[in-house]
Every structure is written in C-alpha cells, then in structure tokens.
C-alpha cells in the first residue's frame, strides 16, 4: 500500500466511479473495468486494490456480499452505498479542482 504508484491518490476515486456505473462487481471485474475504460493506460495492482476495497468497505463507502456462481465457487461482489455516492461526488470535485489547477499551471508555463 505504501508503494509509490501514480494511481495512489486516485484509486479510491476510480473504484467508486466504476461501481457507480455498474453495481455488483467482483475485484477482478473492477480491475479489468479500470484497465479497459482507461484504454489500458491505468492499471490497478492487485496488491493495492484489495486492501483499498477492504478499507473502503470498513469506512462504509462500499458494501460487499457473497454470491454463488454456477461453478459452485463463491465470489465477493461490491456495490456503492449512499455514503459512497457522496464520497464519489466529493472526490470528483476534488479531482476536477486539482486537475484544472495543474492544467492551468502547465498552460501558463
């Protein structure tokens, strides 16, 4: 979790966003969704994703439930909670503010 990863600050935001579009995803699906939507640019590491998921679950932003698949193996599906929706809005706003500020700095320079 302490790895210096370019995604570090934004992993929560990405996970929340993916889950807001499509509820009830398992960890692997979230990982691939981030990869696909970003056109293979962003890559969530397993080692960061799961601790983040579990942490957000404890914070109450997302909720998890076990679902039995046809193969008889259970899988854990995550979805957004009301608190998570709020958090997502806050994170999006924060991201927009920060990125536009950075853009402005880049344009000026």
């Amino acid at each position: 979790m302490k790895k210096t990863d370019t995604m570090q600050g934004s992993l929560d935001l990405l996970v929340l966003k993916v889950l807001s579009r499509q509820p009830k995803l398992h960890g692997y699906a979230i990982m691939t969704a981030i990869k696909h939507i970003s056109g293979d640019v962003l890559n969530a590491e397993v080692g960061s994703l799961y601790p983040a998921l579990h942490r957000m679950e404890e914070t109450g932003w997302i909720r998890a439930e076990w679902a039995t698949k046809d193969t008889d193996r259970r899988t854990r599906l995550y979805q957004l909670t009301a608190a998570g929706k709020k958090q997502l809005d806050a994170e999006v706003t924060r991201w927009r503010t920060v990125s536009s500020a950075i853009n402005r700095v880049l344009q000026e320079a």
């Binding site: 398992h26 397993v46 799961y50 579990h54 259970r74």
Partner: protein, 883 residues
Amino acid sequence: MSFWSRVTYVFRGDRLNHEIDEEFAAHIEEAIAAGEDPIEVRRTFGSQLRLREQSRDARIVAWLDCLRADLIFGWRQLLKRKITTTAAVLSLALAIGACTSAFRLIDALFLRPLPVAHAESLYALARQGPDDLGVLRTFDDFAYPNFTRMRAAAKDQAELIATSFTYRTDLTYATDNEMEKGYVQYISGTMFPIFGLQPTLGRLFTTDDDMTPGAHPYAVISYNYWSRRFANDPQVLGRTVHIGSKMLQIIGVGPKSFTGTEPGTVADIFLPTIMNPDVTRTDSSWLRILAVMNPGVPREPLRAKLDTVSLNYETERAKGFVGMSRHNFEMSLQKKMLIKPATSGVSRLQGDYRRALVWLGVLVALVLLIACANVANLMTAQAASRAREMALRVSIGAGRSRLVQLVIVENALLALFSAALGAIFAWWAAPFVVSRINPPDNPAHLILPADWRVLAFGSLLTLAVTLLFGLAPALRASSIQPVTELKGGKEPHSKRRSMYTLIAAQIAFCFVVLFFAGLFVATFRHLSSQPLGFDAKDLVLLETATPHGQSPESWSQMAGTLHAVPGVKDVAIASWPLLSGGWTGSISVNAAPPTDKWGYFLSISPGWLNTMKMRLIDGRDFNSTDSFPGQAIVSQTFVKTFFNGVNPIGRSFEKVNPFGSRQLCRVIGVVPDAAYSSLHEPILPVAYVPFRKLDENGAINRADGGTFLLRTSGINPLSLATTLRRLVAKTNPAYRVNNVQTQQELVDNQTIRERLLASLALFFATVALLLAAVGLYGVLNYSVLQREREIGIRIAVGARIGSIARLITTQIFATVFIGAATGISLGVASVRYVQTLLFGVKGTDPSMLVAPALILVAAALLAALPAVLRAARIDPSIMLRAE
C-alpha cells in the same frame, strides 16, 4: 456497526482469513477464465500472506487483536505454572478480599451518607467535658427540655431533630404472654419531612404528631421491619402494638432505604418523642440531637449560641444540687458544645469501633502489600526464566510497548482472578465480622450493600495491585538487551537486588502485623483474666418486671419458687446484675460535706453474696429485716476511699443525692472488690444495700423490677430458660420475665471488641507470616538455582557445607535483619496511635517487641532450610557435566 463488525472479527479471526483467501482464489479463477496466464496472475498477488495481513488489518481492530492474543498467551502461561499461579492467586485473593471487607465495614459505618435529603449538611451535637471519674469524654445525650430550648434558639440557622438512642425492648401485638423483641426509636415529628422521606404505606409523622405529651399514640414502622415481621402485608396499618404500658397504632411504613439514624442498628418502630415518658424530665438524658444546617450558615456562631443556651439550662437545673460537692458541681458545668459532621448518621458502634476498624484496615493493607511483594518476586523469578523468550521477541521486531503490554496483561489476568476470588471472600467475610461485633442475642445490624461504591473500590484496588506487582517486571522485560540475553551471559545481581529489597519490605510489614497482633492478643488476655470478684459460671439471670410493683416478701416468695426447680442450687435477687448497670451517689461520713468521689450502689437480697460466691471478709450478710436506708455491705475499695482503710463495721455513712436528700446506712459487712460496670475501668468503691427499700416516710417500697440470679449445677444454664419463664408466669401473672441471659454472657460482652480484634489480628498475622516465609523460600530457592554452577565448582574444590550455607544465607539474613529493624522502628513509631485500644499492655514493652522478632527469625530459618539442603545436595560432577 462498522466498529462492532471489526470487534467481532477479532474473535472470529480464522473465518476472516478464510474469506480473504476465498476472495483471492475467486479472483485468480476469474482471471484464468478470462484467458490470462495462470502463472502471471499468481505472480501479481506477490506475497499473498502479506496481502492478507494488510486486508485483515483493515477489517479488524488491531489493538484489540493484540490484546486478544496477549490474553490467550497469558492464560497459557498461567496454566503452564499451575502451582505458582495458584499460590499467587490465593494469597492475592485473600489480601484483596480482606481489604475489600474492611472497606465495606468502614464505608457502611462511617462514609456512606444516610439516604436522606441534606445528608451533606447533617451534623450532630455533643458536649465535651470530664466524666464522673474526671476523664475527658464526649457526651451526646441530652434531656428533652434542653432540646426544645436549643431548637428555638437555632431557628433560622438550623433545624434541630431529636432522636432517642435506639433500644431493644419487649413488645407485643397480642397479649403479654406473646412477647417479642423490637428496636424502638423516638424521633421528632419534624424528622421525616426534613429528611424528605416518603411513606411506602400510610403516612409518616409530621410536626402535629409531636405536640402534647402522651397524646399521640402512633407508630411508624421501618420498611425493613415491615418485610421481616409482616412479610410486606398492607393490613399492618391500623394494628396496635403494646410497648411497656403504651398502646400505639401503626399509621405508616417508612421508605425502603431508611433504617434509622444509627449505622449498626436497624430501627423497627419509630415513635414521636413526645410519647416518651421522660419527655418532661430535666434529669433524664435520653436523646441525641441532629442538626440540619441551613445553606451558608457558619457553624461556629451557632455552636457558641447553643453552648450558651445549654449551659444556662444546666446552670438553672444545678441550682437545686445542694447534695453535690463543689468540685463535682463545677465539673458538671464544664461541658463544651460541639457540632460534628454526621453525614452517615451517629451511633454507639461508630464510637466503639472507629479506631479498631481503622487499625484492622491498616493490618489488611499491610498483608496486601506483603502479598504483592510476594507475587512481584515470583514474577521476577519467572521473568528471569523467560528472558530468552523476551529477547527473541525483541529480535524479531516486537516493540517495547508490546512487551510491556504482554507482561501487564498476564499480571492483570492474575489480579483479575484474585479479585474475583477476593470478592467472594469479601461477600462472606464482612457480614461475618459484623455478626461477631455484638452479643449474640443483640447482634449489630449493619446494612452492607454491594453497590457501585464497593465495586469501584474493588476495581481501583485490583488496578493498584496489578501495577504494584506487575509494573516492575513489565518494565524489566521491556528493557531487555537481546544481544547479552541471547548470548546467555547476563548480570543477575540487579534482579536479585530488587528481590531482596522486596523481601526486606515484606519482613518489615510482617513484623508490624505480628507486633500489633501480639498487642491485641495480650490486651484480650489481660482483660479476660481480670479478677471479677465473683463466679460467673452457671449463673442464670432473669430480668423481671412487675408493672404495678410487688412487696419484698412477694419477690422473695418468687425466689423460693424458683429455688425448687431441679438443677437450681441458689437463688437471689438484685436490682440488676453486675456488669450491666450503675447507680451513684455522693458519700458523706460523719455528716461531712459530700465527697468529690462518687460511691456506686447495687441493691441485693439476703443470700446474694452466697449465690455470687463472694465471701465476707468481715461482718454478716443481710437478713430479711435489713433495709435501705438502714444497712450496707461495702467493698474493700469503698473502705479505703471513704473510711481511710479503717474497719468500718458498725460505722455509718450517708448516700447524698444531688438534690440534697441523705440516706443513712450502717456498715454491717465488708466484701472483696468485684467488677461493677466495666472491666475496662479501675475498681470502683461499691456499697451493696438491701433490695428491701424504704421511702422518705419509712414505708416499704414496692419494687417494680429486678433480676433473679440462679446458680445452677450440672446443667446448661440456658436450657432452663423456657421452664423458668413459664414457672414465673404461672406462679404470679403480675411478674413478667423480660430477658434471660447468663452472667458469663455479660462478662464476655465486656471483651467482645478485644476478642474480635485479637482473633482477626492473629489470623492476619498468620497469613502475613506464611506469605513472608513463602516469599523468603522462593527467593532463596531462586538464588540457589541461579548459582548452581558456582556452588558446584565450590564444592568440587572442597568447600564445606557450612561455608556453602553461609554463602547462600548471609545476604538473606542481612536482609531479614534490616527488614526487622525497619519493622521495629515502624511499630514503635505507630504504637501510640493504638494505645487507646490496648488494656494492661504497654506498646513500648520490650517483651512485646522481642516475641514477634523471634517468631520472624524462626520462620526465616525454617524457610531457608530447603534451599540450603538443595545447595548441599548439588553433585558437582553432574552439575558441571550438564554445562
């Protein structure tokens, strides 16, 4: 919700691990199904174990998890060393239990506020001055007329409430043949309203119930009595209770929490003060005065005002005291008013047991310290054997604070078990001690609630104990240097030094406990071996009342009837038994002015001396025509005091009463001294006068009460009680037996406090000695274990057993002597605070110091023996090969 789920996961750790693993497995499967390379997928997980730990930490309360692990580990450690653990838990439990019991008693008697409104501004009035022997005492008894004056004077500053001394008396709800006992207290009508108390049933007294003498025949019963006697029957309202010659109607039941104003006695029946027959008497002091101070009123001006009012009252009353010596007259007016806090009520028990309980508390606290030192030493020894484990923990990354927590948790576990066991002990012990306080037929009734106060005390005590014995080992564990420790070389002396310090402290405390126990035991032995002057064995006492009075002939007829009962050898009559009452007067010989010293009187029938087995030194016993005034038999001290030791037979003296009347008595006999009213006081000058009394006109007085004394032979005196009661009622219904007891009980009652103190102190001294000996043994054994190698080498190069023994024991005996010396100085310094509890014993008496010291040294020798033997048996060949 979230926190709670994290807490629950702490205790379901396996399931959490399993779930995390399952999720990861599902991920890998999905990835493979999506066509990724299985090896590559597994590789992305890296160390799955570490990932699991990270996820796990997110989902549980980490510190709680550590605590859980420490608890389990600590529990296993305790189980591993069953004997040590049992010894530690038992000794701590005993000490904690004893401390909690002492706290319960002290709290119930002195600290707990009465469950009334304004308890914090409740005070009691008392007067301090010389008693009839000139000793400074505090008196808290007042006469009712004095009370009404003071109440009027204190108006606007404080509300004064009169409460009589709660007393045990005969009463009945039916006929005189079905008497029972009850505790009765007379109280001001204002008490219930001022205390803000509400009735459980019916109504309580108001000011209107306390107006005209004899005109308010009402009673309120306490909730406690209502449940005990009437099983909470609401029909009790309106029932009539007969107390003495009074008939009173029950009008209400008090609130559940209120048991009267005297801790140690539960009042059963409350009556208005105005119904007391002595309410108008100026010479009868039968009540205490409580004061509820108005907010913001300073105490001193009120005290001064009440002092003046009371002194005026006494001075006015004393104007008639022509029969009192000048000196006694002045002494009687030398009393100074006090206003003392009485938040928890006032009772005789408080005065009698204040110091005794405090010292008992000190003793049990010392025992607790000894037990803590013991356990601390056990723990230190253990820590030594676990040094490598701790070092290993530090090397693989355990933080110092985690190590402290580990050791503290283990110790707290130990303390907790001890506290639980101690609580059970205290549950039993406190009421047990209370049941021993008063004579069996009149037990102290101290309410001992086990509520938050006791719980808080117990918890604080447990915490303090844990820190006391657990903190040092914990800090030591955390300061371990893994390098030295794992190398096997270490510096053992520092550890031993701290153990020896604890041993010295233990010995010092143990000495103090033994010393006090010795003092209390000696006090009890002195007191119970005081010469009585009569034979108390096999003597039954029938306290008898005849409400309308009976002639002396009728009394002696009844005595004759009792004499015929099989097993009764002798019968006599006295106004009351020795060691139970008192009757005083000034003495005048040859019509001289009344003396400063008081004479003490008892009226007896002919044959009383014989029944009591008191021999006559000179003169003769009374016969049936002797009377008072008329004849007297006096004690040797009486002769010394009033006749200058000259043979008084045939000479006369006068009993001079305060108001001036004189009763002339001719001395016809002299008897040896006998205990009169108390074993604690010096021998008093006593005059025995005939039970047959004449009034001022020379007419025979009809006595309305007296005590039959029956000397039995060959049977248990009390087994006759029922037979005698029935016989008296059948022979003459005018006689009523109020109480049956034995003279021996009265003698035993004199020594109850001393017996209680002696037996409890002896018990704790035994415990303290045992603990100290065990502690000594443990430390010696440990040091032999530590030095096995060294001793082995010494033996191999030819050391003798003597020098080995000296090697091991020198230091410990030096420690014992330092401890004992400290103990002696502690004991000598504190002994003057217990002097009032002692009788016939001087705290500075060298023999009182030597005995405990000898016992301690003997115990230390005994405790050292096993370790010396162990050292002597070390076989150098085995020892050195093992290395």
